[in-house]
């Protein structure tokens, strides 16, 4: 039985390989769904609910792209990937798009041959300490025991930070965030360090979150963004400008609530170009003129942020660096022209 399935799979594989040269957008349209790589579970960014529907900040990017290309935000199949399998999944073509809180680095972009299409969240490594420790700055942490996930860039950043400040620490290696949480609460370490968004999400689950504080220092740059394979610029453009459409919409005040009204035409030519009532930006991408309207049906960047990780949620992240450039943040889209 298994053998024949194997053979059948190989046959299908051969056929699929024959078709794969046609370009990712055409492939996606032909198969009728977008295959999106996400995390196996990261609070606020990707998680399945009780019915198996995925939701989260990264997931919303996948849904927006699917809506733009296929017209249906539900036409996405999610492949859960771990930190170890994500790049192979993308490189081998198992997924069309990877939206899995992946830090944009030189070697990933250049050496691994991926194209990061933008940044959807500016993260950075931070520290969480119990308030009773009376620590106000990470530079006061001389001699502290630090819970740190092994095999990640956070481990290297931590070593760099302590060395450049001439202070010492004792690492408590842990494997997962859940383990870190237990160790930290049990007092096995004085400090827990990981991405600031992760720290905020973890602190939100404590019985007494107010007893713990995040130190002001952010010791690394972690620009997280969706990425695609090298070699298909049309597809990279499609994802890049879908993300930019979400960002621009927030800047211009286009929300899921006023989308229908705005798409009848406004006095602002950029909104008109974005929503397809003027010009033919969609056709340049190889899509129809309503592509951005469909992507925005699930909300603009600000709405997605607020719904999944913003201050109204349990995670309660402030916009900070992730605010619009007009509000002092780094979120900035090139113009739609």
């Amino acid at each position: 039985m298994k053998k024949s399935v194997f053979i059948g799979a190989l046959t299908v594989a051969g056929l699929a390989a024959g078709m794969a040269s046609a370009g990712t957008v055409d492939d996606i349209k032909a198969k009728g769904f977008l295959q999106c790589g996400v995390s196996t579970g990261l609070v606020g960014f990707a998680a399945p609910d009780a019915n198996g529907n995925w939701d989260g900040f990264d997931v919303s990017i996948c849904r927006a792209v699917a809506a733009a290309v296929l017209g249906d935000p539900q036409a996405v199949k999610f492949t859960p990937t771990t930190g170890k399998t994500r790049f192979t999944a993308l490189a081998s073509g198992e997924v069309d798009l990877l939206a899995r809180n992946t830090t944009w680095t030189f070697s990933r972009d250049v050496d691994l041959k991926f194209t990061f299409v933008g940044v959807n969240y500016y993260d950075g490594q931070g520290f969480m300490v119990p308030k009773e420790l009376g620590v106000a700055s990470a530079k006061d942490l001389d001699g502290a025991t630090v819970c740190i996930q092994t095999g990640t860039t956070t481990e290297l950043n931590l070593a760099d930070f302590f060395r450049s400040n001439n202070i010492s620490y004792e690492p408590v290696p842990i494997e997962t965030n859940a383990e870190a949480q237990q160790q930290y609460l049990a007092g096995a370490c004085d400090v827990y360090t990981t991405d600031a968004s992760g720290l905020a999400a973890t602190r939100a689950t404590f019985e007494a979150p107010d007893d713990h504080t995040l130190l002001p220092e952010i010791i690394s740059k972690e620009p997280l963004g969706p990425l695609v394979r090298h070699g298909d610029d049309q597809w990279a453009d499609t994802v890049r400008w879908t993300l930019n459409a979400l960002i621009t919409a927030e800047e211009l005040g286009v929300t899921s609530a006023n989308l229908a009204e705005m798409s009848k035409g406004t006095n602002n030519p950029e909104i008109n170009r974005l929503l397809g009532t003027e010009g033919d930006l969609g056709a340049m991408l190889g899509l129809d003129k309503d592509w951005a309207q469909r992507a925005l049906a699930g909300g603009n960047y600000g709405e997605i942020f607020e719904r999944n990780i913003g201050e109204s949620t349990a995670i309660g992240l402030a916009r900070g660096l992730n605010g619009q450039w007009t509000a002092g943040g780094l979120i900035y889209s090139p113009p739609f022209r």
Partner: protein, 432 residues
């Protein structure tokens, strides 16, 4: 007359044994307090167990079953048991147990999984217990195909055309072995089905499907998850690894140099690498070797790797059983004029397998638990799902409840396997 003071004229009635020599008191004296050293150990053990229960039981029972998030759980526990009370948040299990059992399988099709599981139990019953009518074995033979069809759905002609391969192999054996001898028959019985599966099975299945469409809603492997995934991988591995392992063990003892070298090479290679390495090969390396755009089912890849891994270990277990048989058994079989396969089937294997039962079942239990390793390559087995469930804002921070539930389910399955092995050993004990 000598002076006799007293003569018993009647027997005293039988008395009960003293209370210190029967019943609970006796048992306690003999088993728990038979000496000062044992008494100290007993008291210490009771102390440890009691303090453990004292810590765990309130947590287990001062719990919330109805909340919809961790914070609600905490509030309702405090409201019910007073300030400072902490307890388990079983509500997460109540909300997610279907997901932990079935993964992302469409809920309106759960009956197919249930039916497949019942089918599995019925199919293994005649293998496990001698009292079941032998005719049920036909059902056992058909069940892998039926279960495959139930779980994955799709056209019924695909599993049927696979079955046809076996039928063709039998027909080829009968047709060829009469005129050309049994070796040629065996080769034909091997080649014909393989050629059929490689070249014709899939086109014939799709052709039949277009003539007589008989299909159920197909469910892709990506929706498999939870215990259903563990059981699917585990049962496939168990069911396939025993026969493959027996063949490998026999091959390793073979006098034919090529057969022996291949078997030894395979066994030693597979045993030389950890399972997780093979899983990474399945999930990442194969993707790179196969042409780009290939969608070779990940669960199928994992099943193949798990089966190969388990087969190598099973081969060594069976070889241990073979080695433990006295030389005289082989010679007795030869002197009766049995050929190799008959000798193996009637004399050698029944004894060798009987000796190997504890190790075989140990391997099965280990294999079943090893299926949790697939969470590392991103498959959502129960362990992987526990991470996903924790990634929901409502349930972030829940750890013990999920792991406790998963542990309980694994314990039930593994404990049953262990008890069955003990039953089997008792039944097969011929005693010397």
């Amino acid at each position: 007359m000598t002076d006799i003071g007293y003569v018993r004229t009647e027997m005293l009635p039988e008395q009960d044994a003293p209370s210190s020599a029967v019943g609970v008191v006796h048992w306690i004296r003999v088993n728990l307090f038979s000496g000062w050293f044992n008494s100290i150990l007993t008291i210490l053990a009771i102390y440890f167990v009691a303090s453990l229960l004292y810590g765990v039981l309130p947590w287990v029972f001062k719990s919330s079953w109805t909340a919809h998030s961790l914070n609600e759980c905490r509030e309702s526990i405090v409201a019910q048991y007073g300030e400072g009370a902490t307890g388990a948040c079983w509500a997460v299990i109540r909300e997610r147990y279907l997901q932990l059992l079935y993964g992302f399988y469409p809920s309106e099709l759960y009956w197919r999984v249930n039916l497949a599981f019942v089918g599995l139990l019925v199919a293994i019953a005649p293998v496990l217990f001698a009292g079941i009518p032998r005719k049920v074995l036909w059902f056992s033979a058909a069940s892998p195909f039926a279960i495959f069809w139930l779980l994955w759905g799709g056209t019924i002609w695909l599993p049927l055309s696979v079955v046809a391969g076996f039928v063709l192999g039998y027909v080829a054996y009968v047709l060829v072995s009469k005129p050309a001898g049994s070796l040629a028959g065996t080769i034909a019985a091997f080649l014909v089905p393989v050629l059929w599966w490689l070249l014709l099975a899939a086109p014939v299945a799709s052709g039949l499907q277009s003539i007589i469409p008989l299909a159920s809603e197909s469910v892709e492997s990506a929706r498999f998850g939870g215990f259903m995934l563990s059981v699917t991988i585990g049962v496939t591995g168990i069911a396939l690894s025993l026969p493959i392992g027996i063949v490998l063990a026999l091959g390793r003892q073979s006098d034919l140099w090529i057969v022996k070298t291949i078997c030894v090479g395979f066994i030693e290679f597979i045993r030389g690498v950890p399972l997780i390495t093979l899983l990474f090969v399945a999930s990442t390396l194969l993707n790179i070797f196969l042409p780009p755009g290939t969608t070779f089912d990940i669960i199928l890849r994992v099943m193949i790797m798990v089966t190969l891994f388990s087969s190598a270990y099973m081969a060594e277990v069976v070889r241990g059983g073979l080695a433990a048989l006295p030389r005289g058994q082989y010679e007795a079989a030869d002197s009766l004029g049995l050929d190799y396969w008959k000798a193996q089937r009637l004399i050698i294997m029944p004894q060798a397998l009987k000796i190997s039962i504890p190790a075989i079942v140990g391997n099965f239990i280990g294999l079943f638990k090893d299926t949790t390793l697939v969470s590392i390559i991103g498959l959502l087995d129960p362990i992987g799902l526990s991470t996903s469930i924790r990634a929901n804002q409502e349930w972030n921070g829940i750890i013990w409840e999920l792991y406790g539930f998963i542990a309980l389910m694994f314990f039930i399955v593994c404990f049953s396997m262990g008890r069955y092995a003990m039953y089997l050993e008792r039944k097969l004990k011929t005693g010397h």
